[in-house]
C-alpha cells in the first residue's frame, strides 16, 4: 500500500483508540475531560520505557501502559468525582498540563528535548487489530447493564441514584477504562513516531480528541470511528495548501456543529440492523407521503 495513505491510516487508528476511550467517558457517561493527552503521555512513556529499557515485547508493554494510565485516572477520579459541578473537568485539565510539565523535567526520559530511538513496532495491522478489539469491548460494555447504567447517569443523575445505581463507582469505572484506552493509544503513538516529547501531549491534543468525539456524535461508537477517520485525514489531505489547512479544518467542524449539533451520528449506531431499519423507515415515509396526498388530514 501507498506508504502515505498507510501513514494517515495509522495516525487515524492511534487517534481512534484514544477517541474510543473518550467516547465512553464523554459520549456515554456524560463527563468531559480535557486531560486525555495526559493519559496518552503516561501510556506512551510507560510502554516506551518497558520496550527500550527493559526489552519487553510490544503488546504487554502497551497493556501495562494502559494500566498505569488507568491507575492515575483512578486517583483523579477518587478525589474529584464525588464533588458536584465541574471540578472533574477542571482537574483533568490541570492534570494533563501537570503531566506534561513534569515530563519536561524528567531527564531519564530525555526531558523537554525529547526521547528518540524508540523501536518502530506500530504498524497498520496491529493498530487495526487493537482498534477492532477496542470497538468490540466498548460495544459489549455499552450493551450490558454496566453500560446502560453509565448512560443513565449521563441522562439524569438523581434518577440513576434512585434506581440503585452507584454513580461514583460507575463514573470511576468509565474513567479508568477510558484512560486505559488513551494510555494504549499513547503507546501506539510512541512506537510509531519512534520519538516522544512532552509537547506532543499538550492541551491542544486533549481538545482535539474532545472535538472528534463531539464531531462524530456523543453516544455513538460508529460516530467516533467516523470522526477519527475524517478529522485525522482532513488536515493531511489538505496539507498541499498548507496555509488554509487549519481554516478548512475549523470550517468543517463548524459546519457540522451548526447543521447537526448532535454530531455526525449522535445517539445512532451504524450497524447492519440499524441501516435496515433506516431503509425501511425511509421507504415507509415515502409511502406515507403518497397516501397523505390522497387521504388528507387524519388527526
Amino acid at each position: 500500500m501507498n506508504t502515505y495513505i498507510e501513514g494517515i491510516l495509522i495516525l487515524a487508528g492511534i487517534n481512534l483508540m484514544a477517541v474510543l476511550g473518550l467516547s465512553l467517558l464523554t459520549g456515554f457517561t456524560g463527563l468531559f475531560s480535557f486531560g486525555h493527552a495526559g493519559f496518552m503521555a503516561i501510556g506512551g512513556y510507560t510502554s516506551a520505557m518497558l520496550t527500550v529499557k527493559f526489552h519487553w515485547p510490544f503488546i504487554p508493554a502497551l497493556l501495562v501502559g494502559g494500566l498505569v494510565a488507568a491507575l492515575f485516572s483512578a486517583i483523579i477520579g477518587k478525589v474529584t468525582l464525588n464533588l458536584k459541578g465541574d471540578y472533574f473537568c477542571i482537574a483533568t485539565l490541570g492534570f494533563g498540563e501537570a503531566i506534561r510539565l513534569i515530563l519536561d523535567n524528567v531527564q531519564y526520559f530525555g526531558g523537554a528535548r525529547g526521547w528518540p530511538g524508540i523501536p518502530n513496532y506500530t504498524n497498520l495491522w496491529n493498530v487495526l487489530g487493537i482498534n477492532l478489539v477496542a470497538v468490540l469491548v466498548l460495544a459489549n460494555l455499552i450493551r450490558s447493564r454496566h453500560g446502560r447504567n453509565m448512560i443513565a447517569i449521563r441522562e439524569e443523575e438523581l434518577a440513576s441514584q434512585i434506581v440503585g445505581i452507584n454513580v461514583f463507582k460507575h463514573k470511576i469505572t468509565s474513567l479508568m477504562i477510558s484512560a486505559s484506552y488513551a494510555g494504549i493509544a499513547g503507546g501506539l503513538m510512541a512506537h510509531y513516531m519512534t520519538f516522544l516529547q512532552p509537547k506532543m501531549f499538550s492541551l491542544v491534543k486533549s481538545t482535539e480528541l474532545t472535538i472528534i468525539v463531539i464531531f462524530g456524535g456523543l453516544g455513538s461508537i460508529s460516530g467516533s470511528v467516523l470522526g477519527a477517520l475524517v478529522l485525522t485525514a482532513l488536515p493531511e489531505v489538505l496539507r498541499s495548501f498548507s496555509q488554509w489547512r487549519l481554516v478548512c479544518y475549523g470550517l468543517a467542524v463548524i459546519i457540522i456543529m451548526i447543521s447537526r449539533p448532535e454530531g455526525l451520528l449522535g445517539g445512532y449506531e451504524l450497524t447492519p440492523s440499524s441501516m435496515k431499519k433506516l431503509y425501511n423507515r425511509l421507504r415507509l415515509k415515502k409511502q406515507a407521503g403518497k397516501q397523505g396526498l390522497e387521504g388528507g388530514d387524519i388527526q
Partner: protein, 254 residues
Amino acid sequence: MNILELSGLTKKFGGLTAVGNVDFKVKKDSITGLIGPNGAGKTTIFNLITGVYKVSEGKVIFCNKNITNKEPYQIAEIGITRTFQNIRLFKRLSVYENVLIACHKNASYSILDSILMMPKYKREEKQLKLQANELLEIMGLSDRRELIANNLPYGLQRRLEIARALALKPQLLLLDEPAAGMNPDETEQLMLLIDDVRKKFQLTVLIIEHHMDLVMGICEEIMVLNFGCKLAEGTPYDIQNNPKVIEAYLGVEG
C-alpha cells in the same frame, strides 16, 4: 408491624425548618397518605427518607434497621424506591430502556462477563429483558415501548416512573403526587392501578397527594403535615373530621 419509622425527623435549610421533629410510623402492607398544604415539607420528607437530603436531626428506621443518611443508591438496594413530583425520567431514552436500566439489580454478571459475552451475561440479560417487558405489560405501556420517554403523554410518564420504581422490586414505594396534572378519569385509573400493583408486588405504599378523593379513597392511614410539623394522623374519617386539619386547609378567621 411497622415497615418505616421516622423519629424526631428534622431538616433545616439555614434558618428555615422545612421538617420539624416529625414522628411517624408506616404499617407494613398499608397504603398511607401524606398530605398538607403547599410547602408543608412533604417532598422534603421523601428526600430525607431516600437520602437525597441529609437529615439534620432524628432517625429513619426501615424494617427495624437504622437507615439514616445512607446514599440514595443504598436506600434503593435496601428496598425503598420513589417517584418525583416533577417527573425525572431518562427523557431521551425509550420507554423500554427506562425500565430495563432499572432492572439492573436483578442481574449479577460483571463487566468482564459482558465484555467476553459469557453465558452468564447472556442468560441474565435475557432474564432482564423478559422482566422489563413484563413490567411494561402490567403497567399498560407495552404498545409504547419504543417511544422516547419524553414524547409520552404526561399521565403515561407518571406511569412509566412507577414502572421504573417497581423494577427494583421494592418493599416500600414512595409516590410524590402521582396524580398531579391528571384529569379525574386518569386519576381514577391511577387509583385502581396503585391498588392493583400493591397487591401484585406485595408493597407498602406511602403517597403524597393533593387530590383528596384519591387520598381518602385508597389510604388506610393518613398523616397531615403543616409548616413542617405533624398536625394530625389517623384514618381518613378521623382526618376529615379533625378541626385542626380543616383549619389548616381552609384557614380560619379571627
